[in-house]
Amino acid sequence: MNLTRDRVVSPILFAIASFSITALFVIGVFIFVEGLPVMLRVGVWKFIGSSEWLPLEGKFGILAMIVGSITVAVGTLVVAVPLGVGCAVYLSEFASKRAVAIIKPSIELLFAIPSVVYGFIGVLFIVPFMREHFGGDGHGFNIVTASFVLGIMVLPVIVGISVDALQAVPKVYRDGSLALGATQWQTTTMVTLKAARSGILAGVILGMANAIGETMAVIMVVGNAVVMPNSPLDSVRTLTGNIALEMGYATGDHRQALFATGVVLLVMIMMLNTLTRYVTRKRVARQ
């Protein structure tokens, strides 16, 4: 009786475990089926290579939005990487055990703060600050503001993964370096950080993917103008923002063009994910 049940369980669990990949497939099919026709009609290169987005006149070009997403993501990293990696190095190499026991979980707690709250803080503080001190065409709603908001938002991700990567470096590496007379700081920069490089890089790429995929927090602070940015103080629109802002009222070709924007977004994220895989695989191979 028990053994028969055992034999039944395995295929059922297999079916359950296959759900994720099935769901992924169905998601891909639905997004592509809705998005590809209009993309092919306009021409793939024209769709991603033109920055003319006039949906009511049937002109669909999302280059300005692609550039918007990328500039905001790069700006996010400029803010988040030095702070995040610095904080991780401090936590893993220099802080006392008691400090780590308090700080690390509180940073992980912050991972759960809804992104809209970060956007709200941006609207409350960073937008007025930028408007008063830097001005620019976006009146405070610009790339730099969005980079700060998203930079703060992805900090917990980058700190968490970097601390894990640093702590995975065997203690003998550090001991060897210290025994040679190196200071703790020399050991950190010349040995530990080098050994943890790929893990930290994986965290940075994940942070970038989060920044590109974020929607509501960005909409709140980036201004959403469909233009090619000339300076970091310009307002831009991201791919995610384009979908969220127009989905509410779009119909027909326009709605399909938003699904096509989703296709481009999906491809960009998959490229970043593949990069993470490649980066972490190399580490495994080396060890």
């Binding site: 994720s20 992924l24 709250v117 900090l155 020399q186 995929g213």
Partner: protein, 279 residues
């Protein structure tokens, strides 16, 4: 250029790193603190259990709290069995090989999909294709796809942390695989699994991008899962977009944060107990 003594360098670096860590933590803590302090003044029983007035700019947030709970319960009801089942299969029933590789690849990719794209999918699949319309059911099912990878990973980790010898004892006592899983492994892994689930609750409650196009933004209190509803996070987003900072916005944000943080503190407490038991 004068050469800086390594000891001096070390001192400067340590101070700089300490400064960076302090900036990071102070920023994050002050964000949470500011919103909660400003919002708590607004929160009272009338706010939590009252009906909204003038498009939600005044009055209470009761319908939005109910919608948030609906979305959370639906998505957990779907993703816990699927997630736990997947984790058990990957850890206990299948040796690492091509099958686990393909399944893991699927989980990784699913985890990477931006929530707005899941929202598009939820709209075309649940709302249109399955004719579920804008409803809490469509929203909850969409969110379940978002938290599924998360639940699988955390459950897998918890199950892997159970020592191999426990399983051997179960087999030695004549137990089958399924008996060893249900009576030995799962009870031991339970706190770890629970931690993952509780963290997922925070994600459900705070989610906006995928819910807005699947559950809609109706102001009424939902009567069933087939009704449209506005979650607290979406209400907060719409308020800030329309009116900027207002008492209602602070109150909604503080309610969200307090709910999520208290849930997360519970998870952290459970995790500590779990770690103590395993080690």
């Amino acid at each position: 250029m004068t050469r800086v003594h390594p000891k001096t360098k070390e001192f400067i670096a340590k101070m700089a790193l300490r400064g960076i860590a302090a900036v990071v933590i102070l920023t994050l803590v002050s964000i949470v603190g500011y919103v909660i302090v400003k919002g708590v003044a607004v929160i009272d029983l009338k706010f939590l259990f009252g009906q909204p007035r003038s498009m939600g700019r005044e009055g209470g947030v009761f319908p939005f709290i109910v919608s948030s709970i609906y979305i959370t319960v639906i998505s957990l009801a779907v993703s816990i069995p699927l997630g736990l089942g997947s984790a058990i299969y990957l850890t206990e029933y299948r040796a690492e090989g091509w099958a686990t590789k393909v399944i893991r690849f699927g989980i990784d990719c699913l985890a990477g999909i931006p929530s707005i794209v899941l929202g598009l999918f939820g709209f075309s699949f649940f709302v249109k294709f399955l004719h579920l319309s804008w409803s809490l059911l469509s929203g909850g099912l969409t969110v379940s796809l978002m938290i599924l990878p998360f639940i699988i990973r955390s459950s897998e980790e918890a199950i892997r942390a159970v020592p191999q010898s426990y399983r051997e004892v179960a087999f030695a006592a004549g137990g089958t695989k399924w008996q060893s899983v249900t009576r030995v492994v799962l009870p031991c892994a339970l706190p770890g699994v629970m931690t993952g689930i509780i963290l997922a609750i925070g994600k459900c409650v705070g989610e906006t991008a995928s819910v807005i196009f699947t559950a809609g933004t109706s102001l009424r209190t939902p009567q069933s899962v087939f009704d449209s509803g506005r979650t607290l996070a979406i209400h907060f987003y719409l308020l800030v977009r329309e009116t900027g900072a207002s008492d209602m916005a602070y109150g909604s944000a503080a309610t969200l944060l307090i709910a999520i943080l208290s849930v997360n503190f519970t998870a952290y407490y459970l995790m500590r107990r779990f770690l103590r038991r395993v080690s």
